[in-house]
């Protein structure tokens, strides 16, 4: 059984990484097409020379980081409260944000911003994108935190209360440290959905806020472009390295 599972797992991982592997291999192809012409780094260099790409990446990172920070904080606090006492209207609304087709979310937010801009004299921009991302990523955070809290023993909190701590201290010194893996997982999930979002972002983005998915979408639609391959290879390996590092760090902590 164990042998079977190992072989099977290897197969699934191969399946998951096959397209990425192919993309990476062809990012080194000196020809634009499927025929192998020779090894080259120049698509990677092109990426670093493309002003639009660099700016878009910067925008994507700023948006994802801001949205993640706000969403994680707001979502953790909300998840904790919902764990203490249910609030069906809030939970159902959060489910609904997950159910809404992206284009409907995008158009509705665009219409909403259009309406309040009459009073605020703003334009669409990075800030509207960040707000939009917070709105659709909040549900993910709450779900993950609630899941984690289900394995959390309330007795720990009660013990702390008995020992004289007030509720805020209990939350801060007892619950949160226990929740940290859950918070980290939620933040990771949040960052992922924000970084990769195209539809909603393109609708609420303004003049100064092109993001990476928007640039990639435009490039990829024109056909095979090894710069796109190089980009995705860099993202995959970069994030992979980050995860490996984080894993090593975590292991040291728990050791």
């Amino acid at each position: 059984m164990k042998r079977f599972l190992s072989v099977y797992a290897a197969g699934i991982y191969a399946f998951l990484y096959l397209p990425l592997f192919v993309l990476a291999v062809f990012s080194f192809n000196s020809s634009k097409f499927a025929v192998w012409r020779g090894f080259t780094w120049h698509w990677y260099l092109d990426c670093f020379h493309s002003q639009a790409l660099i700016e878009a990446t910067a925008h994507s990172l700023i948006i994802a980081i801001c949205a993640t920070v706000f969403s994680t904080v707001i979502g953790t606090l909300a998840g904790y409260s919902l764990w203490k006492r249910r609030l069906p209207w809030l939970t159902n609304s959060l489910y609904l944000t997950l159910l809404t087709p992206e284009i409907v979310t995008g158009i509705s937010l665009l219409a909403f911003f259009q309406w309040i801009f009459r009073f605020l004299h703003w334009h669409l921009g990075l800030h509207t994108v960040i707000l939009a991302h917070i709105s659709f990523s909040l549900a993910y955070v709450v779900i993950v935190i609630l899941a984690r809290l289900r394995t959390f023993d309330p007795a720990l909190e009660e013990a702390a209360l008995d020992l004289g701590a007030n509720e805020w201290q209990v939350f801060r010194y007892v619950t949160v440290p226990n929740l940290l893996p859950g918070i980290a997982a939620a933040a990771l999930l949040c960052f992922t959905v924000s970084f990769d979002d195209y539809v909603i972002t393109s609708l609420v983005a303004g003049v100064d806020s092109e993001t990476l998915p928007m640039v990639i979408y435009a490039m990829a639609r024109k056909g095979v472009n090894p710069m796109v391959n190089a980009l995705s290879a860099m993202i995959t390996f970069g994030l992979g390295a980050l995860i490996l590092l984080a894993g090593r760090f975590q292991k040291e902590e728990s050791a």
Partner: protein
């Protein structure tokens, strides 16, 4: 990520929304529609900072323009959208005194049917729809050839209701802008008949498949076809004999813009022969600028795909905006075609 980057990011974001009408211009265009030095040269010569972004579909641009404060100054609607945008009061009227280079336009575009006095939009690049095919396959002469099983199912059509219905209507020798329910219904039937012969409904992405040889014939825009032909020695383009649609992308100024004069200067800049020629050459598009076309090298100037001769152009028909009832009918028919 440290606090400084975070604060810088927030600062940048808020600064972005509070910048006033200084020497800045925001341009929203289709992707791959300017040469690499068009914008930098403009910035340098006029001492302006340009914010240039691209969109993939007119609806994306329209949705933002409809809000009335999208922040964009110059946009590039297709000719069939100029009328509707005017009706929705989205465009600023053009001042010809600031556009002396309008004389460079080709005769065909000096009094365009959608905007006779060029009051609202300046023609920019034009194109049409036809059939691109592999020279190893039987040569198609008209739309009717796409209904015969000559291509072993290696045939694609554009994923665009106006184009597919347009081809079907043309096959029946009707107008591409037909609003007659009977004609449209018949066109729909034709499309459904054709579906089993199709590999896919696909737009510009078909270029790779044509070059690789997966697809033998495709309904395609002339510009896309030209780009494919240049990358392969086995492709050719034909303008169908029954007729075909024409389109023209235009440059327009949004009424919400607070930099109308600067926008005019940009439009005038685009009309300069050297600038327009550089764009047409680098992006392989067809310019509406006669003076620019004269500057192109011979093989580009007389490229049959991009600049068809007058006998061919006679068969062409400009796309027009649809009245709401007809649009509704076409949408429904498209859904029916796709679900069949």
């Amino acid at each position: 990520m440290n606090r400084r980057t975070f604060l810088l990011g927030i600062g940048g974001a808020s600064a972005g929304c509070m910048r006033g009408p200084s020497r800045r211009l925001n341009i929203y265009n289709w992707s791959d529609y300017v040469a690499h030095d068009t914008i930098p040269n403009f910035e340098r010569e006029f001492g302006v900072r340009v914010r240039y972004a691209t969109y993939e579909s007119t609806e994306e641009m329209l949705a933002k323009a409809l809000t009335g404060n999208s922040g964009w100054d110059v946009v590039f609607p297709s000719n069939s959208y100029v009328g509707p945008m005017r009706e929705m009061d989205l465009l600023a009227q053009l001042d010809h005194r600031q556009l002396p280079n309008l004389v460079n336009l080709d005769v065909r575009f000096q009094t365009p049917p959608w905007d006779r006095q060029i009051q609202w939009s300046v023609p920019y690049m034009h194109g049409s729809t036809g059939i691109v095919y592999s020279t190893k396959a039987p040569r198609p002469v008209g739309w009717a050839d796409l209904w015969e099983d000559k291509y072993q199912r290696r045939l694609t059509m554009l994923d665009d209701p106006a184009e597919v219905l347009g081809a079907c209507l043309k096959r029946r020798r009707d107008s591409v802008n037909s609003t007659d329910p009977g004609q449209l219904e018949a066109a729909k039937q034709l499309a459904i008949e054709q579906k089993p012969l199709l590999r896919a409904y696909i737009n510009a992405e078909v270029r790779d498949q044509l070059i690789a040889g997966d697809v033998l014939a495709a309904q395609s825009w002339s510009v896309t076809a030209q780009q494919a032909i240049e990358q392969s020695d086995r492709l050719a383009f034909v303008y169908p004999e029954e007729g075909f649609p024409l389109y023209c992308d235009t440059a327009a100024i949004l009424r919400e813009s607070r930099r109308v004069d600067l926008a005019h200067q940009f439009l005038n800049y685009l009309l300069r022969p050297h600038i327009a020629a550089a764009i047409a050459l680098e992006m392989r598009t067809a310019t509406v600028n006669a003076a620019a076309r004269a500057l192109l090298p011979e093989k580009d100037r007389n490229n049959a795909t991009l600049y068809p001769g007058p006998e061919i152009l006679q068969r062409g028909e400009w796309f027009r905006a649809m009245p709401p009832a007809a649009q509704r009918l076409r949408d429904r028919l498209w859904t029916e075609i796709k679900s069949a």
